[in-house]
């Protein structure tokens, strides 16, 4: 196994993502915690935008899920990690879903690929019938 710097998690918050208002709440919460961690200006907007996209996917394509926000210190770097999990239908072809413009919902198809560009780390785990988990982080520079 790879040697990993011990990661220390200070604040972890979990909020339900079930409807429209939860997307707004998730944006605000992510912004708040990111600010506490030390992010400023543009980074706060990039983070909130990515959160908006991924939580909307939970509301649109699954019936509900949760978001966990964690301030992380990994070795000498400090950042914020978001885990967004749902128990929905899952995605059978993740590679296709990650493509710019691909959508089964007649929308722009930029949520997943766009969120990956907005954050530093992005991981999606999903398969048909298994729900979807998106984990993404941003690190302070």
């Amino acid at each position: 196994m790879l040697e990993r710097a011990a990661s220390v998690t200070d604040d972890a918050i979990t909020i339900p993502i079930e409807g429209d208002a939860d997307i707004v709440a998730a944006r605000l919460k992510s912004r708040q915690l990111a600010k506490q961690v030390g992010f400023t200006g543009t980074d706060l907007v990039l983070i909130a935008t990515a959160i908006s996209e991924i939580t909307r996917n939970i509301v649109c394509y699954a019936t509900g899920g949760q978001m966990t926000l964690t301030a992380v210190t990994e070795g000498r770097r400090r950042g914020i990690t978001f885990v967004m999990r749902d128990q929905g239908p899952g995605i059978s072809d993740v590679q296709q879903a990650m493509r710019d413009g691909f959508s089964t919902g007649k929308s722009l198809g930029l949520g997943l690929p766009g969120a990956r560009r907005l954050m530093d780390d992005f991981q999606i785990v999903s398969s048909a019938g298994q729900g979807t988990t998106v984990t993404m982080s941003k690190w302070l520079r």
Binding site: D20, L28, V45, A48, R56, S107, L110, G111
Partner: protein, 124 residues
């Protein structure tokens, strides 16, 4: 929280608030479309200067409002997109194709007056 729509002569002005939900935005789209008909408005101005997230749903809705406005004979201008918001939009891959933008309300009204003036002249 529904977005208030102000009527200023031929122009409708909507100031989008910070904590806008998707259904608030959809409501704004529908309200604006019916108000344009009701007031025979020639312009629609959307002020997003206090908005800190314009994601794919919001952008899609703005594009829809622009198209609805155009079909009803009005022009749309978006004012006040903040620089970090613009950076996020570019990273997402969002393009507000063909929609005029202005720095602030004052510039927006100026741009609108010029556009509306032009379409008035054409009408004659």
């Amino acid at each position: 929280m529904p977005v208030p729509i102000l009527k200023q002569g031929d122009i409708l002005i909507a100031s989008v608030q910070e904590a806008m939900s998707d259904s608030d935005l959809a409501l704004l789209r529908d309200d604006l479309t019916s108000r344009i008909g009701e007031f025979h408005s020639l312009g629609v101005m959307i002020d997003v200067s206090t908005v800190d997230v314009l994601d794919s749903f919001a952008t899609r809705t703005l594009l829809d409002i622009a198209e609805n406005s155009r079909l009803r004979g009005a022009k749309m201008v978006i004012v006040g997109i903040q620089p970090p918001v613009a950076i996020a939009m570019v990273k997402l891959g969002l393009i507000l194709d063909g929609i005029p933008t202005a720095h602030d309300l004052e510039d927006g009204i100026e741009l609108m007056r010029r556009n509306v003036g032009k379409s008035r002249q054409r009408d004659r």
